[in-house]
């Protein structure tokens, strides 16, 4: 493991030996240990349904691990009561893969929402802060637009401005690149990096997009079948010989992650069908 992540100093969040399943029979995560250091952007990658988003849900306290520890800002997340959990969440920023902008509000109102809910700032102060956040994502000019007037990339940037409105300690990004054109993808990627450095926050990025994320992250965890299959810095990942990671990087249709779901052989299946 790289020095950036092995050091237990200055961790914003961590998962230690976490096991989790939505049902007792089905385990989604099996003995996962991850470290999220202060000031770093860490990506979690893997195929669909491998439990990447579940890791974000564990960090946000939406679900609790069956065993193991989840800590954010030195607090054990599963042990927090509702009040403490909400206090902890005020230090988190969350960007959903849909953006999840409130459709009954304008762009300005969306970004102002967390500020209005959690602070007693004056209206003019809130206005200045909202315009600053929108300016940071390049959308100050869109403040008065309704959310249905935004393109997918713009909506994602507005959601990003809203997520950082309260200057969080830790940003959680759930598939931030999904459904974006190459230009919007590059813009969002650079914004994630720039905001992370400018606001001195830490970021956890759950994504499929290997090319875009390797450009902006400091460390990568590859998750598959509920376990960490590979990890390392972007350079280590690019040069790895691990077949799972190679399949992922090269987009090969068959490999450690099989194309076909487990099933009887084709002949057996056809014979069985004709017999019936």
């Amino acid at each position: 493991m790289s020095a950036t992540v092995t050091s237990s100093q200055d961790l914003v969040a961590s998962l230690t030996n976490v096991r989790f399943g939505y049902t007792p029979e089905q385990s989604v995560l099996d003995n996962i240990t991850m470290r999220f250091p202060r000031g770093k952007v860490v990506a979690i990658m893997g195929g669909s349904g491998c439990g990447k988003t579940t890791i974000l849900r564990l960090l946000g306290g939406e679900v609790h691990p069956n065993t193991g520890q989840v800590t954010v800002n030195d607090q054990s997340v599963p042990d927090l009561n509702k009040r403490a959990l909400y206090a902890m969440r005020r230090k988190l920023g969350y960007l959903s893969q849909f953006g999840a902008l409130f459709t009954d509000m304008s762009v300005y109102e969306n970004v102002a929402f967390p500020l209005c809910e959690h602070t007693d700032l004056s209206e003019s102060m809130i206005r200045d802060l909202v315009l600053m956040k929108l300016n940071a994502v390049g959308l100050r000019g869109a403040a008065s637009l309704r959310t249905n007037e935004l393109s997918g990339g713009m909506a994602r940037r507005v959601a990003l401005a809203r997520a950082v409105a309260l200057d969080p300690l830790l940003m959680l990004y759930d598939e931030p690149f999904t459904g974006l054109d190459p230009i919007a993808l590059g813009v969002v990627g650079q914004l994630i990096r720039r905001l992370n450095d400018a606001l001195r926050i830490s970021s956890v990025l759950v994504t499929h997009d290997i090319y875009q994320s390797l450009k902006i992250v400091d460390y990568v965890y590859f998750v598959g079948q509920g376990r960490i299959i590979a990890e390392g810095t972007p350079d280590e990942i690019r040069n790895t010989s691990d077949p799972f990671v190679r399949q992922f990087i090269n987009g090969e249709e068959d490999g450690p992650v099989p194309l076909h779901m487990k099933a009887p052989s084709l002949t057996q299946d056809f014979l069985a069908r004709s017999a019936s």
Binding site: E62, Y94, S96, F98, A100, L101, T103, L172
Partner: protein, 263 residues
């Protein structure tokens, strides 16, 4: 024997599921009540919901009330005149509207217009992860989304029912006095003498308040309980209208037994 056992098993299973569902609704109701102070401390949120549930339902409520009153007057006059009691038409319309039709029909219309809209809105908020985003921003959706909508509906319902009954009585007046030519004084005078404020008007308000709780609780609960898919939102909206309508009719029957048994 096996078939009988299977049928019994299915019945038991369905009963258990219904009880669990009712348990969830009760817990949800108490959770909404617990978060209600927020809806009143930030009254503009509730006002917005009163506008959406109440003001925007005005057209359907007033037009339906007017037509129901007119039809009731035409039919009532036809029957009452057979017995030489056509002067009681105002009384018939007023009591029918205040005691039963006003609260019940207004609530059924409210379930179709506002209840379904509340469920669809919350269901879509869930599907597009807006509720999750709110949770992750440390804002409780029960306080921010559920409680204002619940109280917006509960406050709107009695007002809408009162307007519905008023429109119906006005419709009956148009038919009875303006069209048929009944005596204006007899129409209003008999009505004034027969309608009791406590028994009829207050009970009507109580009924519509209860229906308001039933419709909005069902609508908000179904919205939160939606499966986050297009099909899920559509079936939750349907469930709101069906469950709320049936619950309104059952609750009306029970309340009528207690309110008007001795009248």
């Amino acid at each position: 024997m096996n078939m009988a056992l299977n049928a019994l098993r299915r019945l038991g299973n369905a009963t258990l599921k219904t009880l669990v569902h009712l348990g969830f609704i009760c817990r949800f109701f108490f959770a909404v009540l617990r978060h209600s102070p927020a809806a009143f401390f930030r009254f503009p949120l509730t006002m917005r919901e009163i506008y959406f549930a109440g003001v925007l339902s005005l057209v359907i409520i007033l037009v339906s009330g007017l037509f129901i009153g007119m039809v009731l007057a035409l039919q009532g006059y036809d029957i009452l005149s057979t017995y030489g009691a056509s002067e009681s038409l105002g009384v018939l319309v007023a009591l029918a509207m205040l005691r039963e039709l006003g609260p019940v029909v207004a609530a059924l219309l409210f379930a179709g217009r506002a209840g379904s809209a509340i469920t669809a809105e919350i269901g879509l908020m869930k599907t597009t992860e807006q509720l999750l985003a709110m949770e992750m921003m440390a804002v409780d959706p029960l306080a921010r989304v559920a409680a204002p909508r619940f109280w917006g509906g509960v406050i709107s319902m009695p007002l809408l029912a009162a307007l519905f009954s008023t429109a119906a009585i006005f419709g009956a007046y148009l038919i009875a006095v303006q069209l048929i030519g009944m005596d204006n004084g007899a129409f209003w005078g008999n009505m004034q003498a027969a309608v009791d404020v406590r028994t009829d008007v207050m009970n009507s308000m109580v009924k519509s308040l209860v229906f308001g709780v039933i419709v909005t609780l069902t609508a908000v609960f179904e919205g939160f309980d939606t499966k986050p898919t297009a099909e899920g939102v559509s079936s939750a909206t349907t469930r709101t209208v069906v469950h709320a309508s049936l619950a309104i009719l059952a609750a009306d029957f029970i309340m009528t037994i207690f309110m008007f048994r001795g009248v």
